[in-house]
């Protein structure tokens, strides 16, 4: 019998969808205690969503399949009580919150659950106003849900569930569609309801920095099994194993782990999870070394970035001159955009949601035409030629691959773009075969039967096969696990090396700092600054103005340069920082 403090208990639970032979969840046993803040991470297809469905009762009550083992929610077997009764204890927030919403107005959305569960009508008003205050959205009460931003919608979805006063809240990737600033706000909200209202939180999340900052416990799933389970410091001490599974670790944890590997730190030392912990660790390590400081070397640049920027002597392949655009019904308008991109460059566009980044990409690929100013793409003025002609030179990889896919087999899908641009069927299929095999894709299967990550690879293969002059990436890494993310980024870097210009909109600053040479910072529809990635991340005032948090390594080396040694200035890669620390210790 479980102790009175256990709220969810899984005992040797396995589950396979439908009649599939492979278990989506494979002999998982775990207990969730009251008041915990548990993060679940793992590569795609590892069974994270299935685990959430088991905890929330959607398995066995909604999804059909073969279930083994027992799941106890508040000491009752989920197979023996109804889904409605389970949801009195476990409230769940779905991945697709548009599908979860039942009402057009925030207040009605809040009412739905309360009315259904028969909360006495004289208590309803208090419940609603209290919940809205807790989540911090009292001002949204009478707003239409369709007019809210992504972050606000996510909070409404959370509030609607919290209002029903569950003991546990299970969330499936609540920040997948949000920018870093809104993601942090959502997690602040979760921490508040966890600490002040004692609600247990179980959250599936890909962003390791958030998990390590907010969670009291991290579960790592791989191949349907529970691979690691423990306090974040313990779990992220296994960074290299995690990396093999396809799970990222905070960059500062990698620094600590690398230092431990080369013997500069005791191997049982817990890794640091944030910049201030890392700062403390390295400054205490170097406390003696700083007195006899060696002359500053020029810091080495990232291995991903070529020493000499490519293409600066060539003609720009993309050129925007005084571009202004506004949507007729409101939306992210842009004004006075000026930028050039040269062949072989990888340019990152960063900024908050609503800053106009997606509008900029649509202006580039001709989906939108500027109201004033000109966009020249591969020698064409986008206002003069049809979008389909631009598409032959400029390929776009969208955030959601499902909107791009439309053919019956993977091979047809990858060949489709070539055929559209007038390549003969036989040649197109030959080239498509090579591209698809490179990513290990099954040629004859329907793209829709593949996993989310593999569908993105199909979309990527159909971009690569075109051999375009320019590639546009709109949030190419969202919804992908670490391994898939690296495949995408390494592929486009290779394309850049062969002379293709790559322009990417991306929220993940770690990815941006690893791969982009130049950055364009946008806010409120304007370009605030353009230039070398390291210089931009170094500019605190600029980062604040754009609501962007610089990558951990940049923030850390900046603090170390200020407090420990100027030699840390400008370092943006884990390996460079570790090498420098090693070198400085050797000088002693």
């Amino acid at each position: 019998m479980s102790s009175s403090n256990t709220i969810i208990k899984l005992d040797d639970v396995s589950f396979a969808y439908g009649h599939e032979a492979q278990n989506a969840l494979d002999h998982v046993s775990l207990t969730i205690e009251k008041g915990e803040f548990v993060g679940v991470i793992g590569p795609s297809g590892a069974g994270k969503s299935t685990l959430a469905a088991v905890m929330s009762g959607a398995i066995p009550h909604h999804y059909t399949g073969q279930l083994f083992g027992t799941t106890l929610v508040d000491d009752r077997d989920t197979c023996e009580i109804t889904l409605t009764d389970i949801s009195r204890v476990v409230g769940s927030v779905l991945q697709d919150i548009d599908a979860q919403m039942v009402a057009p107005i925030v207040e009605d959305e809040m009412l739905f659950g309360l009315e259904n569960f028969g909360i006495p009508h004289d208590q309803i008003e208090e419940r609603i106003s209290q919940t809205l205050t807790t989540v911090g959205i009292s001002d949204l009460r009478h707003r239409e849900i369709a007019t809210l931003s992504g972050g606000q919608k996510q909070k409404v979805a959370i509030a609607a569930i919290i209002a029903m006063a569950p003991n546990v809240l299970v969330l499936d990737e609540p920040t997948a569609a949000l920018d870093p600033a809104s993601s942090t706000l959502v997690f602040d909200t979760l921490r508040q309801i966890n600490r002040e209202h004692g609600i247990t939180v179980v959250v599936i999340e890909q962003k390791v920095a958030l998990l390590s900052k907010y969670c009291s416990r991290v579960l790592v799933m791989a191949d349907g099994k529970l691979a690691f389970d423990g306090e974040p410091h313990q779990v992220f001490a296994h960074a290299s194993e995690l990396r093999q599974m396809g799970v990222d670790s905070p960059r500062v944890a990698r620094i600590a782990n690398s230092l431990a590997e080369v013997g500069l730190l005791p191997s049982d030392q817990a890794p640091c999870l944030n910049v201030s912990e890392a700062h403390q660790l390295i400054s205490s390590l170097l406390a003696d070394a700083t007195s006899k400081d060696a002359p500053a070397d020029v810091p080495e640049t990232s291995p991903h970035i070529p020493a000499v920027p490519r293409g600066v002597n060539q003609e720009p392949v993309v050129e925007l001159t005084d571009v202004t655009f506004a949507y007729p019904h409101g939306g992210a308008s842009v004004s006075n955009l000026n930028m050039c991109v040269y062949p072989g460059e990888l340019v990152g566009i960063i900024g908050q949601n609503g800053a106009g980044k997606t509008t900029l990409t649509k202006l580039l690929n001709g989906l939108l035409h500027p109201a004033s100013g000109t966009v020249r793409m591969a020698g064409m003025n986008t206002a003069d030629v049809p979008t389909s002609a631009i598409a032959a030179k400029c390929a776009t990889l969208f955030q959601n691959p499902d909107r791009q896919l439309c053919r019956d087999t993977v091979l047809d899908e990858v060949a489709f773009g070539l055929e559209l641009h007038g390549v003969g069927t036989d040649e197109a299929r030959q080239r498509a075969r090579v591209a698809a095999e490179r990513f290990g894709l099954p040629l004859d299967e329907s793209p829709f039967s593949l996993s989310r990550g593999q569908r993105q690879m199909v979309a990527l293969a159909s971009v690569v096969v075109l051999d375009p002059q320019v590639v546009l990436l709109d949030e190419p890494t969202s919804g992908l696990d670490y391994r898939e993310c690296m495949t995408v980024m390494e592929t486009v870097s290779e394309m850049a090396e062969r002379g293709c210009a790559v322009i990417m909109v991306c929220h993940d600053m770690e990815v941006v700092s690893d791969f982009a040479q130049r950055l364009v910072v946008m806010a409120d529809g304007r370009i605030l600054e353009r230039g070398d990635a390291n210089r931009i991340f170094d500019d605190d005032a600029l980062m604040r103005a754009a609501y962007v948090e610089p990558p951990q390594v940049v923030a850390l080396s900046k603090e170390l340069a200020r407090d420990v040694s100027p030699r840390f200035a400008g370092i943006s890669q884990v390996s460079d920082l570790v090498d420098l620390v090693k070198e400085m210790l050797k000088h002693d």
Binding site: A99, I105, E115, T147, A391, C406
Partner: protein
């Protein structure tokens, strides 16, 4: 947002009526439009609809709908004149009878579509569903299905736009001027749209059940929708409209 049936907030008498009364009024105007057979009545009903629209400050939706319906009405008019060949000829194939039947059919088409849209733009969907459950004893399941269907219309049209944009960026010629070719190109996209909508509907069903959907009864709604004096007055007016339709 540019949807025809988006809610237009307001505090007019029309907004404050019981949703069921609004539904009855719209139904009465539509019924009278079908029953009536004189130009005076048909035009008067259209004018009444527009006056109500202006009063509720919700003409934008009506105007955009009229823009959509006028070409349809004209096609209706031409078809009717082609089929009905009795009466004195006016010019070409058009006869007096044909013209009269045709214009009335065109007016009816407008008169049927507009009141319903007007009613939807001044009623919150949730209120309409709850009031139908409370006053008309409609089972909640049907009310929920209806409101969910309406709510999904803009969601799916956004999805369709996003799919078309993605395909255009790949080089599919949706920017072609030939409408037949465009439709031919759009057909294969039904598959991705269907796939995403089945997924969404399934998720909606799960989410609703997890929020106690099956426990809901007629008394669950927090907001109450009583029939007040004004509602009764409007209901009587609605019956009068139907009677007028019979007489004229």
């Amino acid at each position: 947002m540019t949807n025809v049936i988006d809610y237009v907030p307001g505090d007019s008498l029309l907004h404050r009526l019981n949703p069921v009364t609004k539904l009855a009024l719209a139904a009465a105007i539509i019924l009278a439009t079908f029953l009536g057979d004189t130009y005076v009545l048909l035009i008067a009903l259209l004018v009444l609809t527009f006056i109500l629209g202006i009063y509720a400050k919700s003409t934008a939706g009506l105007v955009s709908l009229v823009k959509l319906m006028v070409p349809l009405s004209l096609i209706m008019l031409v078809l009717q004149t082609a089929f009905i060949r009795t009466g004195a000829p006016i010019f070409a194939w058009i006869t007096t009878d044909g013209l009269i039947t045709g214009t009335k059919a065109a007016l009816r088409l407008l008169g049927v579509a507009l009141p319903l849209i007007l009613m939807l733009t001044i009623t919150q969907l949730g209120d309409l569903a709850n009031a139908c459950v409370e006053v008309l004893h409609v089972p909640y399941r049907y009310a929920f299905t209806f409101t969910t269907a309406l709510r999904f219309v803009p969601v799916f049209s956004q999805e369709m736009n996003a799919i078309m944009e993605a395909q255009t960026a790949r080089g599919v010629e949706y920017d072609t001027k030939n409408p037949l070719k465009k439709i031919q190109l759009m057909l294969p996209l039904c598959v991705p749209l269907l796939v995403s909508s089945v997924g969404k509907t399934d998720a909606t069903a799960l989410a609703a059940e997890q929020r106690g959907f099956y426990l809901r009864t007629r008394a669950s709604s927090y907001k109450r929708y009583p029939i007040k004096g004004m509602d009764i007055a409007i209901l009587i007016a609605s019956i009068t409209l139907i009677v007028l339709g019979f007489l004229f």
